[in-house]
Symmetry: C2
Subunit: 321 residues, 2 copies
């Protein structure tokens, strides 16, 4: 019987690296998680990945063939294969594609995790069958991936899709990147907390949040209080939805996607975020764009999304999926 191709998806984080085998259908056959040990060289991490997966490949050598590897990593450049001085890793500039190719002996591609997510949604998630879509991943920050005519947009420098640092208010909040008014300072777990804290100063209504030191307030806590009717928490989600809605309209009028897919933990905030975001987006679209663009939550099971996204890159590159 012919061997079935599988792809290895690797998602490299500052603390842990997760990886796993993904079939053409998007099914994850096996998933692993190991500490990244970010102070050791990249080569060391890849050798440990090889050690972990060799058992599975040996046991299944009559069924599956590893056909390629897709990697999602911070500051990864699709064109060069480099991971360029990643913020949470002590690697400096390193050509991870070369290293993985040498150690695992199969074709390899790399991009950043947000781009990988976009491919994951198009191949296996909420964007299945679409040719034009955008994913926005809400976590501590805001990541994005842009797909135009079935292809991920990498741009002239390989770094396209930095939607988190688009300026939404040029007189606005300071961002750790050194600029002002970056979208990620408003629409992200961090941004939601900043909005709530600002509103505690601006409003005089009572709120449970007044009893908590501002550096202990979390987006999850604000969400839970919003469900209980806390005014500040509700206004926080309304303002977040407004800015996300305006920004979705803005990017929609640039690449005209069929859908904007919201990923990450906050995508679960349902009516409090996604429904309102859609309303605000519609208000900020010109007439020939209205009632066309969907706002959808991720269609990929939360725990698997990083590995599936990275593997989707390999499926996209090394097969005619």
């Amino acid at each position: 019987m012919a061997l079935k191709n599988i792809m290895l998806g690797i998602d490299i984080g500052g603390t842990n690296t997760v990886f796993g085998f993904v079939r053409k259908s998007g099914v994850v056959l096996k998933e692993y998680s190991i500490p990244t040990q970010s102070k050791k060289p990249a080569k060391d991490l890849i050798k440990r990945i090889k050690a972990e997966i060799s058992e599975f490949l040996k046991q299944n050598k009559k069924t599956y063939k590893l056909a390629g590897v897709g990697i999602g990593a911070p500051n990864a450049n699709y064109y060069t294969g480099l991971v360029e001085n990643p913020p949470n890793l002590k690697w400096g500039d390193v050509n991870l594609v070369e290293i993985v190719k040498d150690i695992l002996g199969v074709p390899v591609r790399i991009t950043n995790d947000a781009n990988a997510s976009a491919l994951g949604e198009m191949l296996f998630g909420a964007g299945k069958g679409m040719k034009d879509l955008i994913t926005i991943t809400l976590g501590t920050g805001l990541g994005s991936g842009i797909i135009v005519d079935g292809k991920l947009v990498y741009g002239s420098n390989g770094y396209a899709g930095e939607f988190g640092h688009v300026c939404i208010d040029f007189r606005g909040r300071y961002c750790p990147c050194g600029k002002r008014g970056c979208l990620e300072g408003y629409v992200s777990a961090t941004g939601i907390v900043r909005t709530a804290v600002e509103l505690l100063g601006k409003r005089i209504c009572p709120s449970k949040l007044r009893e908590i030191p501002s550096n202990h307030i979390t987006a999850k806590l604000i969400y839970d209080l919003a469900l209980k009717g806390d005014e500040i928490a509700l206004e926080t989600f309304d303002f977040t939805s407004q800015l996300l809605g305006v920004s979705c309209a803005n990017v929609a009028m640039i690449t005209a996607p069929e859908a904007i897919i919201i990923c990450g933990g906050l995508a679960q905030a349902g009516d409090l975020l996604l429904k309102k975001t859609k309303e605000y987006m519609e208000n900020h679209l010109i007439s020939n764009y209205k009632n066309q663009i969907k706002i959808l939550p991720s269609g990929i099971k939360k725990g698997n999304s990083a590995v599936i996204g990275a593997a989707a890159l390999a499926w996209k590159e090394f097969s005619n999926i």
Copy 2:
């Protein structure tokens, strides 16, 4: 001797329609301008175009062969061939591609004028040799065309690239489109006048502009006064450059173009606009984007740009240019 292919570029405006034959090199062989007569049906306009060009085609039938037509028109949809209820024409929804194909008997494509400009710059202008670029056309309004990986972005609805209606300030100026804070309300001939008028109220410095009714102030007048050192006029260009710079940074971080090309009359404003726009853009880019993206004035002779843009669409579609 083999016949040389030429393309006909047609740019349809509310008042006049210009068209002309363009060679593969981008050279315009002959250009025409006739009144659009927007109250008559579209078919009438195309028949008059045919009457105008037939003499040239007859005289040159041993040298040139008309291989295709590209059309730039307001509210034109690339996918459907429709011009959908164009604002300054009494046509309703009309399939202009079908009409032109029937009357001229050659392959036809259509898009809006701003998209056509982007193709013109890539094939024959400042974007020659680039695969990722954006054009911003500053006139009464603000039009844009986005090219990713050598292809114009049409998006899921055929209307991608409506950068003039991206919101730059959600508490900002009202726009005739019904929204607030649209970029075109700030960065366009109209927007520049609005900024100057606003500043006349905000500032107390003397200005020649105080002697002119606000509905007589023009962008050209403000430009001339800025060159003479008028404070309000200078601040107007500075603010315009700031908003254009922020917006260039924003769109750059989405599709990562090699260059943003500024077209239209205001592109000639040189140091007063383009140089400052570049400075403001750099201030609003994240570190891995800095010092990479060019801001360039159009590389196409002003009078020819509409016809060259429209013909570029035909060259792009109907040859392997």
